[in-house]
């Protein structure tokens, strides 16, 4: 970095990141899968696929399906479970020298708390509480759409760990601000939004759903306008940092979230389309700052002009 380069570093709930670009949960595996295509050490942070207490097989196939400018997924939280994660996956992820945030998903408040405790280990820099995974019945969805439950869950996780707690919100709600307030008041250190919108697509020749799970989570550029709107609404309601995501494919999209009020951004589906997306976004943010004479990216957070 030359002296003239802008300062892209940000801090999310005490997690220092050299730039605001992170991977979205469930879209970068545990990092190693993308090593041939991307210098992961350049990222601001890495977020894991959802970690659950016990190992999970995941949903029946097909699990993914393309939709207009987006995709539906119903992976079903497939993961090796907390223990195996800590023993096998975590060390792998550490190698890249960037903060690792563990995305946790539980069936009950107790399970979330237990998970939070278990994952409060050397090498995990923060927890992202997935209260909004739309794919597993009676789970994530159940919490994320209710203010009280969101509050209780957040409080329980906060009490169970010393780590920064990031609550990841579901967009499938009437009033995202109410949920955001509930999480904030319960002690969340930051918020991630958005998770996927619940969607469905049908094979009309076979007269069957494309996904084995019938419904799935919609992600990708298609949902970006909804995600940006929610970040903008929430940013004006709460004063904890926001990690914005939903359809980011390029720096310009990341800037929409940042201007709307996000301190950091996460890239998900775009990784599948172009493995170098996160690097491109980082470079694009730097050149935008240069072009606009912005010395610190943080100057842009919430800098949207409304009259």
């Amino acid at each position: 970095m030359t002296g003239s380069s802008p300062d892209l570093s940000v801090e999310i709930a005490g997690i220092r990141m050299k730039n605001p670009v992170m991977s979205a949960s469930g879209t970068l595996g545990y990092g190693t899968e993308y090593e041939p295509y991307l210098d992961l050490s350049a990222l601001g942070a890495m977020v894991t696929k959802a970690v659950t207490l016990e190992p999970r097989e995941g949903n029946r196939p097909p699990r993914v399906r393309e939709t207009p400018a987006g995709m539906l997924n119903a992976i079903g939280l497939q993961n090796p479970g907390a223990e195996a994660f800590i023993e096998e996956k975590l060390p792998e992820m550490r190698r890249f020298g960037v903060p690792v945030i563990a995305n946790i998903s539980g069936r009950s408040i107790e399970e979330f708390a237990t998970l939070a405790e278990m994952l409060s280990v050397e090498g995990v820099d923060g927890l992202e509480v997935n209260i909004s995974c739309p794919n597993v019945e009676e789970e994530g969805m159940y919490f994320g759409v209710d203010c009280e439950l969101t509050g209780e869950l957040t409080a329980a996780v906060v009490a169970a760990t010393e780590l920064p707690v990031i609550v990841k919100l579901s967009p499938n709600v009437t009033d995202i601000c109410a949920i955001a307030r509930a999480a904030t008041e319960a002690g969340a250190d930051a918020l991630s939004l958005v998770n996927t919108l619940v969607g469905m697509s049908i094979d009309v020749e076979a007269r069957r759903p494309h996904l084995g799970n019938i419904t799935g989570g919609l992600s990708g550029p298609a949902i970006r306008p909804v995600a940006v709107r929610m970040v903008w609404e929430v940013a004006r309601e709460v004063d904890i940092p926001i990690i914005g995501m939903g359809g980011i494919m390029a720096a310009g999209h990341a800037l929409e979230f940042i201007l709307a009020g996000a301190t950091a951004v996460a890239v998900g589906t775009a990784n599948f389309v172009e493995p170098a997306t996160m690097q491109q976004v980082i470079d694009g943010l730097a050149s935008y700052c240069r072009r606009h004479g912005v010395s610190r990216i943080t100057e842009l957070v919430g800098a949207l002009e409304i009259d």
Binding site: Y37, P68, M71, Q78
Partner: protein, 265 residues
């Protein structure tokens, strides 16, 4: 496993709805093994959004050339069918695990269904130069003659070749699986390599289990990342759980797959 740029050198409409792409792509030509695939981006926009997986059909390392056989079934493949010579493709590959090769002297049987012939042509080509050479028989089935794209490329690389169509428009009349059964009767192969529709693979697996013939199958599933990260391409694994077509596969030993749960709904 890396990323590469491929340039379309030639595009031939080898059969109705089937296009043979000749790509200039030295990296893939050099490193691709039979049964591996490339994850290709169609265009640079959002329509289509995700990459599309295609098996490597043949490579000419010296010429830095790769051949891919594409059947048009939807948006992405239809766009490919219209691409001009000179089109540049961004692709990831070679990806996945290919065919495990037979012991030299084996008597092997290749069973292809429709466009599933592509990875088997690559295998047959590879076996031609194996030393000492296995004896290679092949069965190529399809609904009609139109589905037997590139059959000469296939036939010319095998000692014995049987074409079969459901409507009898080419070769014998019937299913590839019927032919397989009688061929096993006649002269039991040591190993079967198969690629085609799930429905066909399920039957082939059944026949092979019965006849106690070792079998490998190249499987398909809709994909997200293609590199093992999204867990989107899962298929049922023997003994429960799932395996990833893009990483553990696309080629699997029959024993690795739960054919019960594979049976199309």
């Amino acid at each position: 496993m890396a990323r590469a740029v491929a340039i379309l050198k030639r595009r031939e409409n080898v059969a109705p709805g089937h296009y043979l792409l000749e790509l200039s792509c030295p990296e893939i030509a050099r490193s691709a093994e039979p049964g591996q695939f490339v994850h290709l981006r169609v265009g640079d926009g959002t329509d289509p959004l995700l990459r599309r997986p295609f098996s490597v059909m043949l490579t000419r390392p010296s010429a830095g050339e790769v051949q891919v056989l594409v059947r048009t079934v939807g948006r992405g493949t239809e766009l490919i069918a219209d691409h001009e010579v000179g089109t540049r493709y961004d692709l990831l590959g070679p990806l996945g695990h290919g065919w495990r090769l037979p012991e030299a002297t084996e008597n092997v049987m290749l069973v292809a269904g429709g466009v599933g012939v592509a990875p088997l042509i690559f295998l047959a080509d590879h076996l031609r130069t194996a030393e000492p050479k296995p004896y290679v028989r092949a069965i190529f089935g399809g609904a009609t003659e139109d589905a037997l794209a590139c059959w000469t490329e296939f036939a010319s690389r095998c000692e014995e070749f049987t074409a079969v169509t459901e409507d009898g428009t080419a070769g014998e009349t019937g299913m590839a699986t019927d032919v397989l059964a009688s061929e096993i009767e006649r002269d039991r192969p040591d190993r079967v390599y198969a690629c085609g529709p799930d429905a066909m693979l399920v039957v082939v697996a059944g026949i092979c289990r019965q006849a106690e013939v070792a079998m490998q199958a190249s499987m398909e599933q809709w994909m997200g990342c293609g590199v093992g990260a999204c867990l989107g391409c899962a298929i049922p694994a023997a003994g429960g759980g799932y395996v990833r077509v893009c990483t553990e596969g696309p080629v699997f030993a029959a024993e690795e797959i739960d054919w019960e749960r594979m049976t199309p709904r």
